[in-house]
């Protein structure tokens, strides 16, 4: 049984003007100890997927369809009380920009120990001991356990967030752009840390980022999101070397190769569609250099390219007449 199985997840945000279809028909699968990269532009729905998994959506958003199965257990129908027990113990999340993600008026140790006291019936003393050990693991001086968040640097705060996220030994950790605000050296440290931890406790990882190189280093699988949908999904090496979806290909082209000739990095002209009124056909067709008539009219099916590699594009659909070369 897979650790995480997401089928057809659909989440909408309710605005005054209508519904924003932030996440439409998303399907993923993660085995124990696997790392999945979730890439895409800003506002492609990555964070919405993360929040949906933990059912931490804001008041005006809701999951309108699909299922999320953690170890076979259905989460979409779970109540808030049930989720309060599942959150952090089974799935935890590292937020982007830990600057504001830590409560400024409580000590760092207090916030980590809090998670322990909620989910594991530990005494105060035990909780603090575990906390100190954890801080050491993330390479922070354990004596700083009674200091406040503002007394730490950005990189250290992110490491505190990581420590806090793994304190209950969750099965799955979601990292939402965990290294975006950090400088390159610290980024490398943080990634290394995550790798170690994964190996140690067989932790599943969903890494949300727009940095493809990071995905290449860390993740076994990658899902490419565009405008709330999954454009392509498969083993990292395969998707990177043989991208099938035009968007994926454009993404790869946008990342200049460090070896080889010097060339201008290409970008994709245009903007992502307004998810309040998404186009009826393929959501990428307006910016796709290879778009055909059908792309404008009908949404593409998910095509299985080989055993674990899927993409959503008419061009790959051998059943579509007009795409025959």
């Amino acid at each position: 049984m897979a650790l995480l199985e997401v089928s057809d997840l659909t989440t909408y945000y309710r605005l005054k003007e209508g519904y924003v279809r932030a996440c439409e028909g998303v399907s993923l699968r993660l085995e124990k100890g696997e790392a999945l990269g979730l890439v895409g532009e800003s506002a492609s729905g990555k964070t919405t997927v993360a929040l949906s998994l933990m059912k931490l959506l804001p008041a005006n958003a809701s999951i309108v369809g699909g299922s999320i199965k953690l170890d076979g257990r259905e989460l979409v129908a779970a109540t808030e009380e049930e989720m309060q027990k599942i959150r952090w113990k089974e799935i935890s999340i590292i937020f982007q920009g830990a600057m504001n993600a830590l409560n400024p008026v409580r000590t760092v140790g207090d916030q980590i120990a809090e998670a322990l006291k909620i989910h594991e019936k530990l005494t105060d003393k035990e909780a603090w001991q575990r906390t100190r050990a954890l801080l050491e693991r993330v390479e922070i001086d354990p004596d700083r356990v009674r200091e406040y968040p503002h007394e730490f640097s950005g990189g250290m705060r992110q490491r505190v967030m990581i420590a806090m996220a793994i304190v209950c030994n969750p099965r799955l950790v979601i990292g939402d752009e965990p290294t975006t605000a950090l400088d390159v050296m610290v980024q490398a440290q943080v990634l290394q840390l995550l790798q170690h931890l994964r190996e140690e406790i067989e932790m599943g990882l969903i890494l949300i980022t727009h940095d493809l190189s990071m995905v290449g280093e860390v993740c076994d699988k990658v899902a490419v999101m565009y405008a709330g949908q999954i454009a392509e999904y498969g083993p990292t090496e395969e998707v990177f070397t043989r991208p099938a979806h035009p968007y994926t290909r454009a993404l790869m082209a946008a990342f200049p190769d460090i070896e080889g000739e010097r060339e201008l990095a290409s970008s994709i002209p245009g903007n992502p569609p307004n998810l309040l009124y998404p186009p009826p056909g393929c959501r990428f067709h307006e910016r796709c250099t290879e778009a055909k008539a059908i792309c404008r009219e009908a949404p593409p099916r998910t095509i299985t390219l080989n055993e674990h590699h899927y993409a959503s594009c008419h061009l790959l659909d051998r059943q579509v007449e007009s795409c025959r070369a």
Partner: protein, 321 residues
């Protein structure tokens, strides 16, 4: 921390000094011969005027007068009241306890209710309770303090006869036991306190609500929720400690308003405190008393602000270092 305390103390002393100077000059640069203002007897002879001038030191140069003024202040001499024929400071001290009783009770009451209501309105943001509550707070905030008092007296004292019209005790009343006396005090205190509390609540509710709304939208609240913190603890342990901080500053800033409110409420209810004293001094043109009260009250407010500043610093860890 210590550097901050010293700096704030210095600022406070400077402020008080400016107030003293202001007070000094207010009296002396106002139109009309100061002596004539003091004495108010148009038929007084020129020699008597001279003597009085000497007595008050008004024929000396300005800097000398100022020096005498400061010296007197340090001795606790705020002048002599015309109306009461006593030293101003004595009169003030006599009338201080009733004001403290009224103001203190009302402030504590309104803070507690304001916080509770503010939390409720923020938590149920946009609901009917919230909208109605906000509108009421806004309307209360727009009413002149004395007018709220007048309304209360008319409804509860005159029309319904539940509470006495004013005063702190019934004239000529006899209290056989301390409990009856306490009961009488509470009966007399009820309307003024409620009035005062109503006036203050509006602002506290609004600020608490806004503060909590801001805190609830912060990232660390999402983190806490992600950690599985119960809804009750989310509010108690994460949101409130952050949301309460601006309240401390607000309460300090509001002290001037509280003083203004006290003057009005005490006047309407004939409550024998400092506020009413100021009104009496006003109508009786008792300038020494008037200025004495002004000085006393202002120094108290400035001092209280200083304490509030320290308290805020102590509570907010971000600011401690």
């Amino acid at each position: 921390m210590r550097g901050y305390v010293l700096r704030k103390l210095g600022q406070t002393v400077l402020t008080i000094f400016v107030v003293l100077v202001l007070n000094f000059f207010l009296f002396r640069i106002m139109p009309g011969n100061p002596i004539r203002i003091l004495i108010r007897n148009p038929k007084i002879s020129a020699e008597s005027l001279q003597r009085i001038a000497e007595q008050f030191g008004l024929n000396r140069s300005l800097p000398v007068q100022f020096a005498y003024y400061l010296r007197d202040l340090f001795r606790g001499d705020l002048g002599h009241s015309f109306v009461y024929r006593q030293p101003v400071l004595d009169v003030i001290m006599e009338k201080l306890p009733p004001t403290l009783l009224l103001t203190g009770t009302a402030t504590v009451l309104s803070i507690i209710i304001g916080i509770v209501l503010g939390v409720i309105f923020a938590w149920k943001r946009g609901s009917k309770i919230d909208v109605i509550g906000l509108s009421l707070s806004l309307v209360l905030y727009s009413m002149p303090s004395f007018w709220v008092g007048i309304l209360m007296v008319m409804v509860f004292a005159v029309y319904l006869h539940i509470f006495p019209i004013g005063g702190m005790s019934t004239p000529g009343a006899y209290y056989p036991t301390i409990w009856i006396q306490l009961g009488s005090l509470l009966r007399h205190m009820f309307l003024p306190t409620i009035t005062f509390a109503l006036i203050l609540i509006g602002e506290y509710v609004l600020i608490m609500r806004n503060s909590l709304l801001e805190v609830m939208s912060e990232d660390y609240m999402l983190t806490a929720r992600a950690k599985g913190v119960s809804t009750r603890n989310l509010l108690r342990r994460h949101a409130l400690p952050n949301a309460m901080l601006p309240m401390v500053t607000l309460i300090a800033m509001n002290l001037g308003f509280i003083v203004g409110g006290a003057i009005q409420v005490e006047t309407v209810f004939s409550w024998p405190g400092l506020g009413r004293l100021m009104y009496t001094a006003l109508t009786g043109r008792d300038y020494p008393l008037l200025q004495g009260i002004f000085l006393f009250v202002t120094v108290c407010v400035v001092g209280a602000n200083f304490c509030a500043d320290l308290l805020y610093r102590y509570l907010d860890p971000r600011v401690k270092s």
